[in-house]
């Protein structure tokens, strides 16, 4: 077993959040929020109309307009990620938080706490 020093021990709360490991409740929560934020931005940008590419119709009427097609496809991917991926990360964050509490290693918890106290001196 390798010991794990999480990147999230920074004292800067924002850095601590951003550096949260992927497999952690905070890491999952950040992914969920990131997907939802990108989706919100794409909606504000009005990219939903570009999804006519799904049925083979170019949003601009010009089949050579690759940019419109890419934008439509990108919106579709983020849309599905926001309805499938984001809630899934959110749920997983809650489940993982509960599991971590249940399976926490008491000896490691004690040593980490001691380390934290020492570093505060």
């Amino acid at each position: 077993m390798t010991t794990d020093t999480p990147k999230s021990t920074s004292r800067n709360p924002i850095l601590r959040i951003l550096r949260a490991p992927f497999f952690s409740p905070l890491g999952f929560l950040i992914r969920a929020l990131a997907i939802a934020s990108v989706f919100g931005l794409l909606n504000l940008w009005g990219l939903r109309d570009y999804t006519s590419v799904v049925c083979g119709t170019s949003p601009s009427g010009n089949l050579a307009d690759k940019t419109s097609i890419l934008l439509g496809m990108f919106y579709a991917v983020v849309y599905f990620a926001s309805y499938v991926g984001a809630p899934l990360f959110l749920l997983a964050a809650g489940i993982l938080a509960l599991l971590e509490r249940r399976f926490a290693d008491p000896s490691r918890e004690a040593s980490v706490s001691a380390g934290e106290e020492k570093s505060c001196d």
């Binding site: 077993m1 890491g27 999952f28 997983a92 399976f103 290693d105 980490v112």
Partner: protein, 396 residues
């Protein structure tokens, strides 16, 4: 609370797995629709009115219409034409479902018919076909397409069933006579839509138009219909699935096998002339192409026994699932025709999940679709009263 890395990853993966198992079966609940909002037994559903509004808006605002049409013609000129046909057929049924608004619906239908016939006269009979129609001659001369004649005849016919309009009687009869003559000249009783190409979709529309003509004008083509169904069963059916093929030569050589972008609508229009045969085709298509999973429904373009290639009719095919926008859109029409409400509900859930609905100023449209796709949905939600009237027959 830090954990050992391997333990943390294991717990994380387990959490993701559990979350997936919990979320995916529930996802459809957020997109489920009340079927009666689209498919009520009587009248028009609230959502159906919103979809209709989207079309009526387009036909009263030329700049909006022009934009829609140019987008569709950029991919396929046929969609411009089919968008008109499905809309007129919808409006005729809507006039019977909602008699108080029938004047408004039939005025719109008349405007669309007039504009379509004008374009055909000005730009040529093949204006609504893809360019390859112009490269060679049809086997039966003159160069005329059953696709165009059949759909225009049925536009006029359904409008007349909703409320008689004497001006349409002669031009409709002229088209019916022309298409019947062309169908009779083929050993498989089928007319060409494109040079040397007969499409089952167009032939089923032509048969429905003939049946509508029988009701309106007192003609009787029941012998021809029986002969056509017998021929189709023997010569135009894919042996492994029992489904009618999608396209073939005037001599009956298969060009395409069974396709979702054809068979669902074919089953609907065959219901005009041979209800049992149509029901059998629907049941077979439902088994071979219809899919429901986790509350969502969609349709594949090809049965497992036929390998086809994506084209302009199928639209892009979703990898792994094999879902086709063209097939799924038309599955609405067949599921509504044959009263398959569980499948209809699953399709509707998918529509609201995956077709990017937008409600604006009392109208509803689906961004992942186009005008013809939304018109097929509108026709699926309104079809019924015209056929019911035809089945009852004219009072003696």
């Amino acid at each position: 609370m830090p954990l050992q890395k391997r333990k943390r990853i294991t717990l994380g993966l387990f959490s993701l797995l559990l979350a997936t198992a919990l979320w995916l079966p529930c996802l459809h609940l957020f997109f489920r629709q009340d079927l009666d909002d689209y498919f009520p037994a009587q009248g028009l559903g609230a959502r159906t009115r919103q979809v209709a509004q989207r079309h009526l808006d387009a036909w009263t605002r030329p700049e909006l219409l022009e934009r829609e049409i140019s987008k569709m013609r950029g991919t396929n000129a046929e969609w411009d034409f089919m968008g008109r046909s499905f809309l007129v057929w919808s409006l005729a049924n809507m006039a019977l479902r909602d008699p108080e608004s029938s004047d408004r619906y039939l005025e719109a239908a008349d405007r669309i018919i007039a504009e379509t016939v004008r374009l055909e006269e000005e730009k040529g009979h093949l204006y609504f076909l893809m360019d390859y129609a112009k490269g060679r001659d049809f086997q039966v001369s003159p160069n005329r397409s059953l696709f165009v004649d059949g759909e225009i005849a049925l536009m006029m016919g359904m409008r007349r069933v909703a409320r008689e309009k004497a001006e349409y009687a002669a031009p409709m009869r002229e088209r019916l006579d022309a298409l019947l003559e062309r169908m009779r000249r083929s050993p498989v009783l089928s007319g060409e839509s494109y040079p040397m190409e007969c499409w089952m979709f167009c032939n089923s529309v032509a048969l429905a138009a003939l049946k509508t003509g029988d009701y309106l004008d007192g003609t009787d083509h029941s012998d021809f219909f029986r002969e056509w169904v017998d021929t189709a069963r023997q010569k135009l059916t894919h042996p492994a699935t029992g489904l009618l093929v999608s396209s073939y030569t005037p001599d009956g050589g298969f060009l395409d096998g069974p396709e979702g972008s054809s068979i669902w609508t074919v089953a609907h229009f065959l219901d005009f002339i041979a209800p049992e045969f149509a029901r059998d085709q629907y049941d077979r298509a439902r088994q071979a192409l219809g899919v429901t999973v986790a509350g969502f429904g969609y349709a594949r373009e090809w049965p497992r026994q036929w390998a086809g290639k994506p084209d302009v009719d199928s639209g892009p095919i979703v990898p792994l699932l094999g879902a086709s926008a063209g097939s799924s859109g038309q599955a609405f029409l067949a599921a509504a025709t044959f009263g398959d409400r569980p499948y209809l509900s699953a399709l509707l859930t998918s529509l609201h999940f995956a077709a990017f609905p937008v409600e604006r100023e009392g109208s509803l449209r689906f961004c992942a679709s186009n005008q013809v796709g939304d018109a097929v949905l509108l026709y699926a939600a309104t079809a019924g009263p015209v056929l019911e009237k035809i089945r009852k027959g004219r009072p003696q």
